[in-house]
């Protein structure tokens, strides 16, 4: 077991594309770290550099305290689970699991022990004599996991391993991967573009954008205190409501004048939909601000629904979470309020979080 340490890692592809722009990251022993970001932000590139499948333009990568920049993938003591599983189609499941071990000249009784153990953990023992072509997507996924487990590596690397599964299976496998990792305690680096998957899996979440780290921290930290506008809108669904403050914005809002006065032009405020409420007969409380919206649509997602509306002359889109189902016709005027403490403030230009007290 070992941690993974990235120092100033950069990757410039042959065509001149700078896919990773100086990433430093410390993955502690036994932690489950998830790299999340939109497609094309360099997640796979970063993971593949750790695996040794892609050369490192500059910077260093260490696994278990040992610099691995120059080592072959097989020498790095890592195992990787690929998006398309990459099982050897002509080998039985058992042979697939054994292959890496045989190549490493591990004694055959030890191989058998590990394969049987992994098969038991993953409940794929009945499938051992089948070929990958005879398995369902979820079963292939398990076999791919099995191939990583039997290696007993210092670290697992996952590149969007669940994105080929249907929604239900994805949720199930997500939970299984999580509990498996807890049980084995193997350091894991996991790449996904799905923020929900990232939130539920990670000990530590690393949000990437355009080749650099936007923010790293525990999922709750990142959700509650997003460091940039990018993170604020990327993490959470529906995305955080953003309202850029323009000279006339404050006068269009209702509610606490202290709060309204604190909104300075050139900043953007963010409010999560679940921190907003529709204002009824009870009116606005002292520490709240409120906005008048024109409804554009309602979305029912089960126990709650989201009411979407636009605000003011700037037509800012605002989503409000309401319990149960409320129906509004399009164009209905409504008033939504949010408490002062739930406001996030960002600099509109730099996108950075402003932590000055309200």
């Amino acid at each position: 077991m070992a941690g993974i340490e990235l120092k100033d890692v950069r990757k410039v592809y042959a065509g001149g594309v700078e896919a990773v722009k100086g990433v430093s990251l410390d993955v502690q022993d036994g932690h489950f770290v998830v790299l999340v970001g939109p497609s094309g932000c360099g997640k796979s590139t970063l993971l593949r550099m750790v695996a040794g499948l892609e050369s490192i333009t500059s910077g260093t990568i260490a696994i278990g305290g040992r610099t691995v920049n120059e080592l072959e993938p097989a020498e790095r003591d890592i195992a990787m689970v690929f998006q398309n599983y990459a099982l050897y189609p002509h080998m039985t499941v058992r042979r697939n699991l054994e292959y890496g071990l045989r190549n490493r000249r591990i004694p055959s009784d030890e191989i058998t022990r590990r394969v049987n153990e992994a098969a038991a953990i993953l409940e794929i023992a009945p499938l051992l004599d089948r070929k990958p072509g005879q398995l369902s997507g979820g079963q292939r996924q398990r076999v791919a996991m099995g191939r990583a487990i039997v290696r007993e590596p210092a670290a697992f690397l996952f590149d969007e391993p669940l994105s080929n599964l249907d929604a239900k299976l994805r949720v199930q496998m997500r939970a299984e991967i999580r509990s498996l990792q807890r049980r084995l305690g193997t350091t894991s680096l996991y790449v996904t573009h799905d923020q929900l998957e990232a939130m539920t899996l990670a000990d530590q979440l690393v949000v990437l954008s355009a080749g650099h780290i936007e923010q790293a921290g525990s999922p709750m930290e990142i959700y509650e205190r997003p460091a940039t506008l990018f993170v604020a809108t990327f993490i959470g669904s529906p995305a955080m409501n953003l309202l850029p403050i323009e000279p006339e914005t404050a006068s269009q809002l209702a509610g606490s004048s202290a709060v309204r006065d604190s909104l300075s032009v050139g900043t953007t405020i963010g409010i999560r939909p679940e921190h907003m409420r529709l204002v009824g007969d009870e009116g606005i409380q002292d520490d709240e601000i409120a906005a008048d919206l024109v409804v554009t649509g309602v979305e029912l997602v089960g126990a709650e629904s989201y009411v979407y509306g636009v605000f003011g002359a700037q037509k800012a889109e605002i989503a409000v979470r309401v319990p149960g189902y409320r129906h509004f016709d399009g164009g209905t005027p409504i008033r939504a309020a949010a408490g002062a403490t739930s406001l996030h403030r960002f600099d509109s230009k730099t996108g950075l979080r402003l932590d000055s007290p309200v």
């Binding site: 097989a74 292959y99 191939r147």
Partner: protein, 282 residues
């Protein structure tokens, strides 16, 4: 895709049957002729039913030796041709799969130059380079040897391109998984690439075996000794301008025997052949 009108089926069958008759009749007629005495053959019309000389003719051709080609038996001819066809087929496959492996999976300087060099040889079949090739064979002392028959034919751009196309469809993740699984290049080739290519290899083998079996120009040049003749060349040599000099019954036997091995190869490997052309195990 398949038409299921009530008339379609019988019509399709009829067409197929007519086609088969057109293809099969000459072969049947040759077989009939191969079971007649030479006198019957020379006195038309040739009967449409097999004669009584089957055992005699085939025995004479296989074990007796045929005068016009220096007393060599068809057995020897079959052996020579089999060696050549197998050598050409296996040699072509071995060389082309290795060169495709190098071109697709390795990054070496001038890789594309080599690729285009191979590609250009498509324009240089034996017929075009026959003089220099012959000279080289003479200088190497390979006239009248199996090596001389086989070697000049085994470089194959077509097969290389075919394997290249196939290799390029192998997902990069599979190659990477193998790298992580500590499989070096040759182990990857042996454990993963070869098994995945086996249907392609089988299909190619059938095509190349027949290519080797039916070679005419090159064996004609490179073999002088009757003992080294291939069956196609011997067949040609057996036929004289004068009908009276030609042992027609033996020619017919040889012709039939010359068809049998390629047919066997096609029939035995049919399943593989079709699979190799239409699908891949991925």
């Amino acid at each position: 895709m398949i038409e299921r009108s009530p008339l379609g089926r019988p019509l399709a069958h009829l067409l197929l049957i007519v086609g088969i008759l057109i293809v099969a009749f000459p072969i049947y007629y040759t077989f009939t002729a191969s079971t007649q005495t030479i006198q019957t053959i020379l006195r038309p019309p040739l009967p449409l039913t097999p004669g009584s000389e089957f055992a005699n003719n085939y025995g004479e051709a296989l074990f007796g030796g045929i005068g016009r080609i220096g007393g060599v038996g068809v057995g020897t001819l079959l052996f020579n041709t089999t060696v050549m066809a197998l050598g050409v087929a296996c040699g072509k496959i071995a060389i082309s799969i290795l060169s495709a492996f190098a071109i697709v999976f390795f990054r070496f300087p001038l890789r594309m130059v080599f690729f285009w060099l191979i590609f250009i040889t498509l324009m240089l079949p034996v017929e075009v380079r026959i003089l220099p090739t012959y000279k080289v064979m003479v200088d190497l002392g390979l006239i009248d040897t199996y090596a001389g028959l086989i070697l000049p034919l085994i470089a194959s751009a077509t097969a290389t391109l075919l394997f290249r196309q196939f290799f390029m469809t192998i997902p990069g993740e599979l190659v990477e998984a193998a790298r992580i699984d500590a499989a070096g290049p040759m182990r990857f080739f042996r454990d993963i690439l070869l098994p995945l290519s086996k249907t392609n290899i089988a299909a190619l083998f059938v095509i190349l075996f027949i290519y080797g079996w039916t070679q005419y120009l090159w064996p004609l040049l490179v073999t002088n000794n009757n003992q080294m003749n291939t069956i196609v060349i011997a067949l040609k040599k057996m036929v004289s301008f004068a009908d009276a000099d030609t042992p027609w019954h033996l020619v017919m036997v040889t012709a039939i025997l010359a068809i049998v091995p390629p047919v066997l190869v096609v029939v035995l490997m049919q399943r593989w052949f079709v699979r190799g052309l239409v699908e891949t195990e991925k």
